[in-house]
Subunit: 340 residues, 6 copies
Amino acid sequence: MKTVVTFGELMLRLAPNGYLRFVQADSLEATYGGGEANVAVSLSNFGLDARFVTKLPTNEIGQAAVNSLRKYGVDTSNVVRGGARLGVYYLEKGASQRPSKVIYDRAYSSIALAEPKDFDWDKIFKDAEWFHFTGITPALGGGVADICLEACKKAMEKGIKVSFDLNYRKNLWSTEKAQEVITKLTPYIDVCIANEEDAEQVFGIKAGNTDVAGGKINHEGYKEVAEKLVRQYGFKMTATTLRESISASDNNWSAMLYDGKEFYFSKKYNVHIVDRVGGGDSFGAGLIYSQLNSYTPQASIEFAAAASCLKHTIEGDFNLMSVAEVKALAAGDSSGRVQR
Amino acid sequence: MKTVVTFGELMLRLAPNGYLRFVQADSLEATYGGGEANVAVSLSNFGLDARFVTKLPTNEIGQAAVNSLRKYGVDTSNVVRGGARLGVYYLEKGASQRPSKVIYDRAYSSIALAEPKDFDWDKIFKDAEWFHFTGITPALGGGVADICLEACKKAMEKGIKVSFDLNYRKNLWSTEKAQEVITKLTPYIDVCIANEEDAEQVFGIKAGNTDVAGGKINHEGYKEVAEKLVRQYGFKMTATTLRESISASDNNWSAMLYDGKEFYFSKKYNVHIVDRVGGGDSFGAGLIYSQLNSYTPQASIEFAAAASCLKHTIEGDFNLMSVAEVKALAAGDSSGRVQR
Amino acid sequence: MKTVVTFGELMLRLAPNGYLRFVQADSLEATYGGGEANVAVSLSNFGLDARFVTKLPTNEIGQAAVNSLRKYGVDTSNVVRGGARLGVYYLEKGASQRPSKVIYDRAYSSIALAEPKDFDWDKIFKDAEWFHFTGITPALGGGVADICLEACKKAMEKGIKVSFDLNYRKNLWSTEKAQEVITKLTPYIDVCIANEEDAEQVFGIKAGNTDVAGGKINHEGYKEVAEKLVRQYGFKMTATTLRESISASDNNWSAMLYDGKEFYFSKKYNVHIVDRVGGGDSFGAGLIYSQLNSYTPQASIEFAAAASCLKHTIEGDFNLMSVAEVKALAAGDSSGRVQR
Amino acid sequence: MKTVVTFGELMLRLAPNGYLRFVQADSLEATYGGGEANVAVSLSNFGLDARFVTKLPTNEIGQAAVNSLRKYGVDTSNVVRGGARLGVYYLEKGASQRPSKVIYDRAYSSIALAEPKDFDWDKIFKDAEWFHFTGITPALGGGVADICLEACKKAMEKGIKVSFDLNYRKNLWSTEKAQEVITKLTPYIDVCIANEEDAEQVFGIKAGNTDVAGGKINHEGYKEVAEKLVRQYGFKMTATTLRESISASDNNWSAMLYDGKEFYFSKKYNVHIVDRVGGGDSFGAGLIYSQLNSYTPQASIEFAAAASCLKHTIEGDFNLMSVAEVKALAAGDSSGRVQR
Amino acid sequence: MKTVVTFGELMLRLAPNGYLRFVQADSLEATYGGGEANVAVSLSNFGLDARFVTKLPTNEIGQAAVNSLRKYGVDTSNVVRGGARLGVYYLEKGASQRPSKVIYDRAYSSIALAEPKDFDWDKIFKDAEWFHFTGITPALGGGVADICLEACKKAMEKGIKVSFDLNYRKNLWSTEKAQEVITKLTPYIDVCIANEEDAEQVFGIKAGNTDVAGGKINHEGYKEVAEKLVRQYGFKMTATTLRESISASDNNWSAMLYDGKEFYFSKKYNVHIVDRVGGGDSFGAGLIYSQLNSYTPQASIEFAAAASCLKHTIEGDFNLMSVAEVKALAAGDSSGRVQR
Amino acid sequence: MKTVVTFGELMLRLAPNGYLRFVQADSLEATYGGGEANVAVSLSNFGLDARFVTKLPTNEIGQAAVNSLRKYGVDTSNVVRGGARLGVYYLEKGASQRPSKVIYDRAYSSIALAEPKDFDWDKIFKDAEWFHFTGITPALGGGVADICLEACKKAMEKGIKVSFDLNYRKNLWSTEKAQEVITKLTPYIDVCIANEEDAEQVFGIKAGNTDVAGGKINHEGYKEVAEKLVRQYGFKMTATTLRESISASDNNWSAMLYDGKEFYFSKKYNVHIVDRVGGGDSFGAGLIYSQLNSYTPQASIEFAAAASCLKHTIEGDFNLMSVAEVKALAAGDSSGRVQR
């Protein structure tokens, strides 16, 4: 079984039931999530050996976070225990014209205050073929950025492929700081996932004239961004999801892959949304899985797009789809007929 | 009050809340359902005297199943108690591109192991005007197929109309076995409900070129199938629902009736689905009700289509609509405005 | 902070979970609502000082009703306690072709049996700038109609603006009785909210040829009604929401304002409905807020339309949106993208 | 199967979950209950043919009330439909030193406003052997008291036994009014269930020195009351439950029967309470069942005491125990060991 | 209405349903609580004007916290908004031999990082008669300790009575630090609530030989501690609750008051626990209420003990009892009989 | 880390919420459990490497069962997938005098139909030190009894200790069959857990005069049984729990260990029950843990008794206690005071 390592933060996600607003909630659904953990769970559901690395407090809340990953078969033996707290994020699910709302309470978490000595990358990377992390992780704090760099170097040293999901979060750092830190990491990155906004914020790469709020997609702009990313930073591959936000309830969803030579666009799905958080992560997992299994570029982007389309129909951060289910959709059956 | 008898299996239906996947569920909604029981409940809600016949275990789970029917006024005095277990089916509700999933755990149930001597059809059919069952029932096992045949013969003897919903289930039997068993039953059947797939699987009757997965409907193909069914098996009437699966969340829904002379098509509804299980059964109930009340063919198919359209908006297997509510939709008010 | 007084009934609202029908419910969501209370809560959420006036029983159920308003900052110090019971309304949420259903059990409530001496309008109107009530309130009974008239007179005396939402309810009174009572109130009313049906039922003012059940909107008809209302009753302003009911799940929603000179139409929203009860009240609150803050007529109707569009995405009677959130939608961002 | 008729009010019971207070509840458990309906359900669970008579509104809430009885097999074919509303009672469950709280909202209900012509007692009493009602029913209003008297006369005429549970409710009527009305009914009553408080309030019969609030039981006082009841009113049998309230969580529970000759005391149970509402009604049902089946007086009071002891362990008004389960406890197994 | 000001932290309380352990919880009950907020809510339920002072973040989670107090009528107009986060505490309810577990995640909260300039005590104390806080508040951090001191001085200046609940929390500070900070506050404190453990940890005052874990109470030891507290720190009154922990499900509960002259012991209650968090705070509120209303010392300690006994039967931190309910228990009715 | 292997059935456990009876349940709590799986989870929570062996269907319900173990760190890599169904058991929780009720629906499960060739014991037992199973497993069917025997032989061969919990289930087999099968297994068993009933049913070993239903414990009788077991079957150690059933809500709980020389009795606990299912299994786990860690006999039985006492306070089959928590109770702190 191929082994993928992901590294980042795992948070407690607290969400009111259904479409209740925060002020209406007497009870909060408690699940766990975070970019790289989401990728690990999805890969484990695809049958890979997924190893998630983070630091979590030693209390029972930290244990519950560990258990949420073990349940889906993720290898948590490299999770370091210690530090003060588990990061929390509050999620209010939007509907129709009312947007979803996320409130982060992640400062001072165990992972944000972690130090390089907490992690032994030689041990962590044993038998691994792929390493994945997102732009959120180095943004957590200086120590974590250093850990990312160390991990990247070690990965290169061991011939492990590295994928990186740009995922710029303005609440965590400035574009200047992001650019400074991430530019140090790019030399080690093979596959970069970045949408237009991320590319602009972090690298100052600007596409033509896509109107994100308006929900229109400009294929040429995306191609332009992808080409610039590859040219300027030497990635072997870039990929992006193409989200057209019709409303909080309905999105169009497709994706593009650029292998430095050709552009590959997936089918487009009209998605009636159950839970869109983790959509990007499920795309990353689909891309990693299909690349590790040597799919053709077109098959790879179709698999990743179908996987992430399906994530939008699942509650929680985690994509709980099997390879067979993703393939069925990628192969064209989107009728939703009952499977008996 | 007109009396209708239905015969088949009643199962415990276990479904995760909302759109949770099976692996996420810590709690399962426990309701009861099964093709012929669903028809009985719908007819009782329409004001008819509905008598449901099955065999259920004597334990409290069997009792809860009985109670679920009594609650809606179904006459359960002919339910035989005994045998080992209540069949179970697990239902995971799909959304958008993710299909619903049904896992059956119905083997060895009390009804599947029932014997002809368990049922006294003279008593059961007292004062009855209509008898209904589906293709699932004879598929449960050899004894049950024999019971069906006996019931059919007795119904004919007593001048009771017989309707039959083909409902081929590949998990229960092969097409060969189905054809063998069902062909013995057809001489006793007045009204046959069958969609294209069923007709092809059981009778080898194939329509032109409808693409079921693609969700497109081919009226000519349906007519062709209906005509062949009547010609070959001598049914007095055939009817079918016409489902266009846009996704697990949205379907188009209409229906066709063929009285051996003319084809009658209902209005088409764009349904935003709450729960589509039991949609076909609610159609059968609508057809039986409208036929028993001597509706014109067009009015009959409109009533049956509207009834089953509305079922898609109701949680659980049972169609909990009154005649007045169905008529309001059949008469054209689909605006969903608040009724005060 | 500007102060608005609203007067009317507050009821316990009992609704099955999700899309369950009444007969399926083992548990009922218990919230509170009523036209004028809904307006007060929305205004309080907009940052105004909202004062709600009613009469509630002294028992714990009455107290829970009070608390439901205090929670959102509404001033309940003028709520009179006494009388026999809290009115109740049962709400079954519709979906797709199945309409929502409301069953009222409000007769003999504390407010319906209230007497003029229960309320001291000099004290109630202290520092107030606006008074709002709906046509439901005088319909509750003779004493309450008298109280409304007394309040209107006192408001005029004090130079307080009066808005009135026609809201004709056929279960509460006949059109004759409504016309008789309301015509006594009109001289004191500055702003009248009335849709076509209300105008026809209460004032016999009939628009051209809008087909309400069919969900089509006839702008000219609405203009005609508005003009007649202003001409015949001397309102300074009339406004109406324009609902196109596609189904119980999807509506188009916009609004019109007429200031006696020009007609102003808002943008139109395609709303995927979470809960449409209180939609009209949230429109009223949006109108009052924007008028009190001297918005231009176009900005005012856009604000009111956006506010009430958003109400459709919120569970319960109350509109729990901030001014900033309403403005963001009015300004054009309806993409529903996640706010982090 | 022996047939028992009971007549009274069926209400919607609304209770916060668990031990929440009313002001904390966002959701209310919705079940149905009422003295005589509770008796009917318990008797149906004991295997008798129980026929419940009342008047309920024609709306869906009334229908849900009917369904709650049909579910347990109660014959509801004599329930009259019409009138304005279903009575409601709100129940807050107490714990330890905090008492349970009941708020009634039952005035103006369909049954309270019913008239003698609504009920055809000849039809209702067909094949019946026993008639049961409580002191709450004539207290509902003048018309209902008349209906009770008519029913009692008809019962005597037909040789049907009549049992009556005194159940004085101070919120419904004065002791004077109660005495006046009930004294007209006593000549028709065979079995009277009355505790000390009831006997004192309604008949002015006072026992020695039992301290109810203190939870102490005075056997001699109970005997004295029973003897006086029989002597003064000619009942063939009186019975009473003996509750010692240690706290809202723990009660001691036993019962006494007096057949005009001897006093029979049941075993005493230390009950850890799940839900004590309906405890008295379950005792009545136990008494009726055991009398109808000709138990010895000691066996009868043991059965009734055990039945009502078990009711305290069941949520809701209804006693959902079988004869076998009651007998097992009456026979002495109170160890609560798991039944596999 | 008498006005009481309380100052401290308000936290989000997250608790698994019922008796689930943290690792089992998929959903967390979300309520709000904190020592001084709990006192404010209880006093507001007693009919006093309770003013709560704290600092809360400006986001929706902070707003939900504000709303949780407004609901019960607490004056929140002096709550400062700003800072980073709302403190959180996780609560796992114990049962029988399994203890309850609390995990705090309160560091870096808005109030912990508040500064003296955030609060204007002249405005806050307008018309106030009493000021209350606990030992947890100065423990939150240096700035908060300074704020406490400033508030105490201002209270003395204005002739406002000050009560202080020692409440030593070892997770927040050392005994040395606690003693250093609290000794500066004692000169301003009139009423000190302190149990033996607190007194020993903070003041080094040690009682004879009470065995806390063993659940035995030593009256003489408590008297000794109370006398030393008054003698050494000049409090006008000290009070303490006397908890005997039989198990997580059952406690004995009573209290003692020392007015510098006499010792007053309350009745002792055997409490079957629903939720014991906030028990001490409800005692403080009972003491403040009874003192403000000039109860005799014995009546005062009986009221406070009964109030806090009842708190153990209520879910959440807040004591939701009225004065009448507390008085009924203090007067001796602990039978828990249903109140109709 | 020491490795323990357990082998048996894992079932889906379906239980109504709280104290609802089966016929009241609209929703069932879905957890998983089974004797040996329960032991594995408890040992994993104690920090051992627990390996659970069974056969589960390949569908999603089987996967959910696997996940329920992985969540707690149990090694499921030796779970065989295949066969038809997952066994189910329905659990109705009793209270006070009402006993809990278990309905099994486990026939024809994947494990019941498993064959010896499904399991490779050489691989399964790699590095293992202990093997545990119960009398339920060989009772599942002939193939499974053979598998047990094969596993026992292999364990002896490898020097792995074998513990066996007699656990006679009359629904699964006759005492004759049980004796025949189990007598073949005894030569391989080191530690036998057996209560009096089991010993009598399976081995015909009868203690003096303990009255199980009456809840009284007879120490001498238990000693007699233990001695006979060791003498006749050569076990190195026997142990038993001593349950005194006061009611379904309250039990006394202690345990005895006999090492062939001395008898060791644990402390006795008065347990207020949350969920008693799995109590015996948690005792087995406690015994295995303490034996594997070389506790003295007295410490061992205290640990096992405390562990299983605590299980009674936890919902579900699994004992979710840490070693530290168990030791705290075994060391004497049963006060249930809040742990902060």
